[in-house]
Symmetry: C2
Subunit: 195 residues, 2 copies
DNA sequence: AAGCGATGTCTTCACGTGATGACATACACC
DNA sequence: GGTGTATGTCATCACGTGAAGACATCGCTT
């Protein structure tokens, strides 16, 4: 059933361990942020010795980068839909479930980000969000700006909704939220030209 | 000239030290976040021994709370203007200058926030943003939700703009940014009812 | 000018962290 | 089955941090 039948299920499975660390790391980096997530707790959640982070990834930071790369790979799945409402629904749904998105944290961190981080954000968000959004708003000179504006809006909503600092936003159903957001999306597509 | 003439300027001035720590702490908590801001560096920037943080505030965390309370006090200045464009301009302008807003960090942190933090955010944002915004969108049942939506939008923009993950948003002038945001604000005021 | 409280300096401590390497054990191959 | 490599376990280290407290010095009050 498994991909390589030459490899019987093993109790010691490097790939499974790698995977477990990747998942546990993703979840904890998302929950706590990079600093507050300790390798000890990551190992514990993965059911694995923390020292294996060093073995498989080299360091905590390298694990973090691997987690982000993994999220990038996951982001490439799913169809290309150039409709702002569909994009918004997909993004907000993914981020509502605590599906672990350390990238969202990178985007939402006010600290000036290095080129490496900008590049990662770009790669994760381009295929499912920025690309489709650019196409949806038409290809004016400010298409890129408006696509980024969409993402900024979604990040702002998702983050404030998640942390509970905005009680109404926190309590509202996703359905009603999307209904309230819809006019903004239409306005975004129309652009500043249309009165 | 100073408030209390009975107190001549002193080389050892507790109030000035307190103020210096508050300002340096505010700046560093904003730049680095709570974790990465060390009391040693705060002391250094304030030109003061780090141990004085313990003396005047009790602990690093207490200093953080004092910084937030200070920001709250500052937020109460300025007129009450129930116009979404004016609010947006004021907020974005304040946050564009790195005037130190640790509260923005609290709002933008995806980690579920305790009741204490929610309360602080509320107190800082109510007088200048949420209150006026609620009034601007009319007093329907969803006024609160839409006011929070405005704040979420502004936070998303400000934060992504500051960290550089959104290049177009980062490079655009505030003037042009406000022009692009204006249609969204109008849509927000109109609400989901109006087609 | 002397005493005393307020203010500031310096050293030291305890703790949690990420990292490292020696050692143990399971699995695959012959 | 024996052997070597892959995989996992454990003890320990070095470092940076927040905190605490002993000590020094300033300046107000009388």
């Amino acid at each position: 059933m498994s991909a390589t039948s030459s490899r019987p299920a093993r109790k010691r499975d490097a790939e499974a361990t790698r995977r477990a660390l990747l998942d546990a790391g993703g979840a904890l980096f998302d929950e706590r942020g990079y600093e507050r997530a300790t390798i000890r707790e990551i190992g514990e959640r993965a059911g694995v010795d923390p020292a294996l982070i060093a073995r498989y990834f080299g360091s905590k930071e390298a694990l973090y980068l691997a987690v982000l790369a993994d999220e990038e790979r996951a982001a490439r799945r799913g169809p290309f839909v150039a409709d702002l409402h569909a994009i918004a629904e997909r993004v907000l749904t993914r981020w509502d479930r605590s599906d672990s998105s350390p990238v969202r944290r990178v985007i939402a961190d006010p600290t000036p980000a290095g080129a490496e981080w900008r590049e990662i954000v770009r790669r994760v968000m381009e295929p499912g969000v920025l690309g489709p959004a650019r196409e949806a708003v038409g290809d004016g000179a400010d298409a890129e700006l408006r696509a980024e504006l969409l993402l900024a809006l979604l990040v702002g909503i998702s983050v404030t909704r998640a942390n509970g600092t905005m009680p109404a936003l926190h309590d509202v159903s996703r359905e009603e939220l999307l209904r309230q957001v819809a006019p903004l999306l239409d306005a975004l597509r129309a652009g500043p030209g249309a009165e």
